[in-house]
């Protein structure tokens, strides 16, 4: 069960450091080839501890034809609608948390989706808990609109969510999700949120060219779009690891 998985603590790509070049080389020309154009560019390291194998060891040349390593998430889904904004994900008053403090970062899970209006009878996190029993969130259009607070993806990840499957994302939330590595922001080709119910068991499988969401309760499957521009950066292990790989910032010694 997803709930039994350890929470992502801090994303550290120490494994990446040795592979980057030792000197600072300023960037001056296009060196990136991204396959698609769905998203803004994302960053940071933390996807590595969440099940993706970083591939810095391979080579420093562009390997944009490769995509995410195969990853699977399995668990209960929590279903929401359109325009779930960051205030519903985590009310601003709870954003006083200092996410570099590990204890606060763990506790922030208690606030995940706590801003949802009370007509949402089933709570994502039960009162008094810091973990959710739901590991996959399913949403509609424009998931994560509103504030740029990184606390939004961080609190969902801290509560134990592994992925969001939505029809579309607000720009900053998408980028922050990848940047923090707290969760996978996956796009579905159809409105999965209309066909799944909270509490149903689902599996998300990520492959080379996209993904698949299987609802085991209904037996239906849904295609997920490829992660797009985020791919190469995720593969590197995040924006810091990626920049080190490119020789843009020096390695930590």
């Amino acid at each position: 069960m997803a709930t039994s998985l350890p929470t992502l603590s801090r994303p550290i790509a120490s494994s990446s450091i040795n592979h980057s070049s030792s000197s600072f080389v300023p960037i001056r020309s296009p060196f990136l080839k991204f396959n698609t154009s769905t998203s803004l560019l994302p960053s940071s390291l933390s996807l590595a501890p969440r099940g993706i194998t970083p591939r810095f060891a391979t080579s420093t040349e562009s390997d944009s034809n490769e995509t995410l390593a195969k990853t699977t998430f399995h668990g209960l889904c929590y279903v929401l609608g359109d325009n779930i904004d960051t205030d519903q994900i985590i009310p601003a008053g709870a954003a006083c948390v200092f996410p570099s403090n590990q204890q606060e970062r763990d506790e922030i899970g208690a606030f995940a989706l706590s801003g949802l209006p009370s007509f949402h009878k089933t709570r994502f996190v039960e009162p008094g808990e810091i973990k959710s029993k739901y590991s996959i969130i399913i949403g509609g259009d424009n998931f994560g609109c509103g504030s740029s607070r990184e606390h939004a993806p961080v609190c969902l990840g801290a509560a134990g969510a592994k992925a969001v499957v939505a029809e579309s994302y607000a720009r900053i939330f998408f980028r922050n999700s990848v940047a923090t590595g707290e969760l996978f922001p996956l796009e579905s080709e159809v409105r999965v949120c209309d066909e799944c119910k909270t509490g149903e068991t689902v599996t998300v499988e990520l492959g080379e060219t996209g993904g698949l969401l299987t609802n085991h309760t209904t037996g239906k499957t849904y295609k997920l779009k490829a992660i797009g521009d985020a791919g190469p950066v995720i593969d590197a292990g995040g924006i810091f690891a990626y920049a080190r790989l490119m020789g843009m910032i020096p390695s930590l010694t």
Binding site: A92, G93, L116, C145, S147, D229
Partner: protein, 505 residues
């Protein structure tokens, strides 16, 4: 229907010749500035349009303002929508909510002894949770103070005496307004901030957008960010602005038209005769809410109004850029502003547009005037003007939160035109409003439970702020009607959502 008065057919287009004519005057200003400062800037391969491209052939592929700014910041000759490029950052802004996290990530990644890339290009503005007893909120300001001391950050607008904000001469207040007032917003530059409303600064003809802590941590160490060049949507606003209308009405009209996701990942460029006639503060309102349409940034071509504002506040050289005549826009919307009416955004979405007069039966419990969107000097002047014109008293509690210390002083010092020399503060007092409070983000985003004017009950509020999602101002069942300062003031006088025309002539 509100939509009946506008024509808005998105279509791919090339820039009209009218645009070229309209901007020619400002282009001359830019020539002057380019020459003045060419020595101090990095040599870059993108030129500001010093002459019309058609006469020189110097620009083979037309670019929009945003594309030009990003190309120059990337030290490239061209930037095409969809390109992922590393961009040099001119200014990074952070505040008390996200700053501690951003600096924490910076330290984690670059080492405990690491130094920021440029202590003069980082602006740290405590503004969100200031006047509160919340220990974590106070602690966050302390963390920022420590980082700023250690890193020798030049622009840290600190507050230590929470009892009286006036005892803190460095304290400003709401970051987006303070950035402009302190001269950190400059045409042609790249401004990033750990706040979604950083897009406000697009009013100055610069690229400005919000980022998260992790990206900010990266910028702190490198001064660079990886960005995807956004395609540009163009909004041409023409016609004389009716006296009862404000920029807030324009942006709510536009968001209602394209929806809260209508500009996702895109630039919203505003031009036209109406935009040219707007003051800087009104232009800031327009750009402030592009994020409510999902926009990555908003931008307005700099002109004499812009340069006059900026040159009075900074000695840093800058270089305006303008969209080429043959630039490509993904869509174009035209509005005849002279035909628009005051609008509101009903609960619970900024695109839930309605005419103010259509909501006249909506009983309200309170009115809130404040925030980066609606808490600037001119916003309070507008509200005061309407109160003075009516000679009436408010029927519901009316809360006033000036965005910055400067705005607060203006509220207490500037005479309101047509009121016989009274200040905003005098008029507000006579109208029975709450006394203008200490400048900060206040209850716009709810905040800690003891935040002034926070919506702690499931009440109905007319607010000049920017978001009305469930729980935004505090209570999850609260109902927020987003409106212009005129409409907010008119509603305060009647206790119902009210079209300001009832009090203005």
């Amino acid at each position: 229907m509100a939509s009946s008065v506008i024509s808005s057919s998105p279509f791919v287009c090339k820039s009209s010749s009218k645009n070229d004519l309209g901007f020619s005057k400002s282009s001359q200003i830019s020539i002057h500035r380019c020459q003045k400062k060419s020595i101090s800037r990095k040599i870059v391969s993108v030129m500001a349009p010093q002459r019309s491209p058609s006469t020189t052939g110097s620009v083979k592929t037309g670019m929009t303002m945003t594309e030009k700014i990003l190309a120059r910041a990337a030290e490239k000759s061209q930037a095409v929508p969809g390109d992922n490029i590393w961009v040099n950052v001119d200014v990074l802004m952070t505040h008390d909510v996200c700053g501690p996290g951003a600096f924490g990530i910076f330290k984690r990644e670059f080492g405990e002894k690491a130094k920021v890339w440029d202590p003069e290009k980082i602006v740290v503005i405590p503004d969100h949770y200031i006047f509160t007893a919340d220990k974590r909120a106070n602690r966050n300001v302390d963390i920022m103070r420590e980082h700023c001391r250690e890193q020798n950050i030049k622009y840290f607008y600190d507050i230590t005496d929470l009892g009286d904000f006036r005892a803190n001469p460095d304290y400003k207040g709401v970051c987006h307004v303070a950035l402009a007032q302190e001269g950190h917003c400059r045409p042609g530059e790249v401004l990033l901030g750990t706040d979604s409303h950083t897009c406000t600064a697009g009013a100055f003809g610069q690229f400005a957008t919000g980022i998260g802590n992790t990206d900010a941590g990266f910028v702190l160490g490198t001064g660079k960010i990886l960005l995807k060049v956004p395609p540009t949507m163009r909004f041409i606003l023409d016609g004389e602005m009716p006296s009862f209308l404000q920029a807030k009405d324009l942006i709510l009209q536009i968001i209602g038209e394209i929806s809260v996701a209508g500009a996702t990942y895109k630039t919203m460029e505003f031009s036209g005769t109406t935009v040219e006639s707007l003051t800087m503060e009104e232009r800031m309102t327009l750009c402030n809410m592009v994020v409510e349409a999902g926009g990555k940034n908003g931008v307005i071509p700099p002109d004499a109004t812009t340069l006059n504002y900026v040159e009075n506040r900074t000695s840093v050289p800058f270089e305006p850029v303008y969209s080429d005549g043959n630039a490509s826009f993904v869509s174009e919307y035209r509005f005849d502003v002279s035909k628009l009416e005051p609008v509101v955004a009903k609960p619970h979405s900024p695109d839930n547009r309605a005419l103010a007069r259509e909501c006249k039966d909506v009983k309200i419990d309170r009115v809130y005037i404040g925030s980066c969107t609606g808490g600037k000097t001119e916003d309070f002047m507008a509200a005061a003007k309407l109160f003075a014109a009516s000679g009436k008293k408010v029927k519901v509690p009316t809360f006033l939160v000036p965005a910055t210390q400067k705005v607060w002083m203006d509220v207490y010092a500037l005479p309101v035109p047509g009121s016989g020399g009274k200040t905003c503060a005098q008029i507000f007092e006579e109208a029975g409003c709450d006394t203008p409070t200490s400048p900060s983000c206040g209850a716009c985003l709810g905040g800690p439970a003891d935040t002034y004017a926070r919506l702690n009950e499931p009440q109905v509020c007319v607010s000049t702020t920017n978001r009305n999602f469930p729980g935004r101002m505090g209570h999850k069942e609260g109902q927020i009607y987003l409106a212009s300062p005129y409409t907010a003031a008119a509603s305060a006088l009647t206790g119902y959502v009210t079209d300001p025309r009832e009090f203005l002539q």
